[in-house]
C-alpha cells in the first residue's frame, strides 16, 4: 500500500510536467490552430536557462522561475510576429513544419555551446529534504512541483473562465468568425497567447531542472509523448489536456512498477492508450468531433 501511494505520487509529479506542457500546447492551438512542435525545445531552453543563470550569473532558482518564463515568453512573441504569423493563413501543417525546423535549430545551437552531457542542477536549499506523509516520505522538491503545477493549471483555468481576456480567448477558440462579427479584435490576442503558451513550457523546464537530467535533448522525446497526451485528451479541450497529462503520468508510473517484467509494454503504455482512445473516441476523451472535412 505504501509503495502504491508512493508510485501514485511519483506519477502525479511526472503528470504535472505533461499537464503544463499540454496546457501550453492547447492554449496556443485554441487561439492559433497551430501545433507548436518547438514546445519541447522551449521546455529545454527553460531548464538550460535556469542552469546558465545559476552557473554563470549566480541567479538562484526562485529568480529563474520568474525570469525564464518571461524571457521565453517574449522570445515566443517575437517568433510569432517574425515567422508563425506569416503562415497563419495557410494550412496549419506549414506552421507545424516551421516549428519543427525551429526545434532542430534551437537544439543544435544549445548543443554546440553546452555539449550533450547532462548537467546537474541542485534544488534550492529551502526545498531540500523530504516531507513525512505518515506512511511514506516524499522529497520536498517534488511536493513543491506538484503543488505549484496544480496551482498554475487552476490559475490558468480561472483566468480563462473568469476574466475578460479569458472570455475573448475562449470565444475565439470556439467560434472565431462569430467572435470577430461581434466586433472583437481577435488578432490582438494571438501574439500574447502564443507567448503565454511558450512561457508555460519554459516554466515547466525550470521546474524540471533540479529533478531531471538537464541537456539539449531533454525536450526532444518528451514532446512526442505530450503530443500523444493531447491526442488522448482532445487538443481543443484545455481541461482535457490537463486531465490527460496527469492521467498519463499516473498510468506510466504504475506501468513501470506493475509491468516491470514487460519493459516493452510499460515503455509504450501511453501510445497503447492513445490507440485505444482513437478506436473508441477519435476526437479525444474530452474533445468534440471536428467539423466534417
Amino acid at each position: 500500500m505504501t509503495g502504491f501511494l508512493q508510485h501514485t505520487f511519483d506519477g502525479l509529479v511526472n503528470g504535472a510536467f505533461y499537464a503544463l506542457l499540454a496546457l501550453g500546447l492547447a492554449v496556443i492551438f485554441g487561439m492559433l490552430r497551430v501545433v507548436n512542435f518547438a514546445h519541447g525545445a522551449f521546455y529545454m531552453l527553460g531548464a538550460m536557462g535556469a542552469y546558465v543563470l545559476l552557473a554563470e550569473l549566480g541567479v538562484p532558482f526562485w529568480w529563474a522561475l520568474v525570469i525564464m518564463p518571461v524571457v521565453l515568453g517574449v522570445l515566443g512573441m517575437a517568433l510569432e510576429r517574425a515567422f508563425v504569423h506569416r503562415l497563419a493563413q495557410l494550412d496549419p501543417l506549414y506552421n507545424f513544419l516551421l516549428t519543427f525546423g525551429l526545434t532542430l535549430i534551437l537544439q543544435d545551437l544549445v548543443k554546440s555551446r553546452y555539449g550533450v552531457q547532462s548537467i546537474p542542477y541542485a534544488p534550492p536549499a529551502e526545498l531540500n529534504g523530504s516531507v513525512d506523509f505518515g506512511l511514506f516520505d516524499f522529497p520536498t522538491y517534488r511536493v513543491f512541483v506538484l503543488v505549484f503545477a496544480v496551482a498554475i493549471c487552476v490559475g490558468v483555468w480561472w483566468l480563462l473562465t473568469h476574466s475578460r481576456v479569458g472570455m475573448v480567448v475562449r470565444a475565439a477558440t470556439e467560434r472565431p468568425e462569430l467572435t470577430r462579427a461581434f466586433g472583437i479584435n481577435v488578432g490582438r490576442w494571438v501574439t500574447p497567447v502564443f507567448g503565454f503558451g511558450i512561457a508555460l513550457a519554459g516554466l515547466a523546464g525550470v521546474l524540471a531542472a533540479p529533478m531531471r537530467a538537464v541537456n539539449p535533448l531533454m525536450g526532444s522525446d518528451l514532446i512526442i509523448v505530450v503530443f500523444a497526451v493531447v491526442v488522448i485528451g482532445g487538443l481543443g479541450s484545455i481541461f482535457g489536456s490537463v486531465a490527460a497529462g496527469f492521467g498519463i503520468g499516473l498510468i506510466q508510473a504504475w506501468g513501470v512498477v506493475y509491468l516491470a517484467d514487460w519493459p516493452i509494454l510499460s515503455q509504450t503504455l501511453v501510445f497503447i492508450v492513445m490507440a485505444a482512445v482513437l478506436m473508441w473516441r477519435p476526437a479525444g476523451l474530452f474533445g468534440r468531433e471536428e467539423a466534417p472535412a
Binding site: R33, V35, F83, R86, L87, Q89, L90, D91, P92, L93, Y94, F96, L97, L98, F100, G101, L102, T103, L104, I105, Q107, D108, L109, K111, S112, D221, I224, V225, F227, A228, V230, V231, L235, P263, I264, Q267, T268, F271, I272, M274, A275, L278, M279, P282, E290, P292, A293
Partner: protein
Amino acid sequence: MTTVVDSEPGAKPGPARSGLVAVARAPWWLRYALLAVGLGVALWLPNSLYPPVAVDILCWALFAVSVDLLLGFTGLMSFGHAAFWGTSAYVAGIVATKAGLPFPVAVLIGAVAAAVLAVPIGYLAVKRTGIYFAMVTLAFAQMIYYVANKWSTVTGGENGLPSVPRELGGLDLSDEYYFYYAALPIALLGLWAAWRIVNSPFGRVLVGIRDNPARARALGYPVHRYKLTAFVLSAFLAGLGGGLFVMNHESVALDALHWTTSGKAVIVVVLGGIGTLWGGVIGAAFLVRLEDWLSFSGFEQIGLVTGAIFVLAVLLFRKGIWGTVATLAQRRMARRRQSDS
C-alpha cells in the same frame, strides 16, 4: 484554372494541383527527354559521386516519394514514416543476417513487413485528418522506436545491428560501385510503382479525396479505405528505401526509427516540391549531398543547417524546387499559347 493554392485559407499544403497538371500538360517529347535525362543521370551517378552516397540518394528518393504519395496526392502528412523505413531496415537486416538470403529478397521482406505494420497504424491514423494525423503517426512511430530500443535481444537496442551481409547469388558486391548498380533496379521499380499509382484511376480518386473528401464520400467512395490503401502502399515504398539503406551501410542503427528521420523525409519532400512526385528525388539528392558535404568538411551542427534551410523553405519557397520549375515552365507555355492564337 487557379494555380495559386497557397493563398487560399485552409488550403492543403503545397502546389499539388499545379504540379500534377504541369506533368500532364508537358508535351510528350519533353516528358521523354526528361525521363531520358533522369535515367542517364541515374546510370552515371556513381561515377561522379562517392558510390555509398549515390545509393543513399536512391534510398532517400524512395522514402521521399513514399511520403509525397500521402502528403501531395492524398492530403495526409505522415510525420511517422520512420516507423516503416526503420522496421523494414531491421527486418531486412535480421533476415539477411539470420537466413543469409540474397539482399533483394531481404529488402522485399522488409518492405512487406513495413506494409503489414502500416495496416493497424494506418487504420487508427486515418480516423483523423490534418494536424492530428501528423501527431498520431508521429506518436506511433515513437512507439516503434521504444519497442526497438527495449527489445534488444532481437534489435541490438541502442547498438543496432552490426555487420549485415550483402549477398546476391555469389556475386561480389563488396565494392560499393557495383552495389549501386545492383540496387538501382530496385529503386527504379519502386519509383515506377509510385508513378503508376499516382497516374492510375486509384490515384485520381486519392487526389479527389485530397481536394474534397466530402464530395468523394458523397460519390460513394469509401474514403477511409482509400486512405488506408494509400498509407500501406506508401509504407511499402518507404520500406524498400529503408531496406536498401541497410544493405548500403551493412548495419542498422536505432536512428532509423527516430522522429528526426521522419521529419527529414518531410523536409526532403517540401524542398523538392509537395505533390510533384519527382521533386522528392531532387530534394533527396540535394539533402543527402548537403549532409555528406557538411560532415565531410567537419561541420558538426548539421541540424542547424538543415533546420535553417527548412525554415526558409517553409517561409519563402513552399513550391519547392520541382514545383517552382514546373510553375515557371507552365507560365511560359501559357504565354506562348496566347501569342500563337
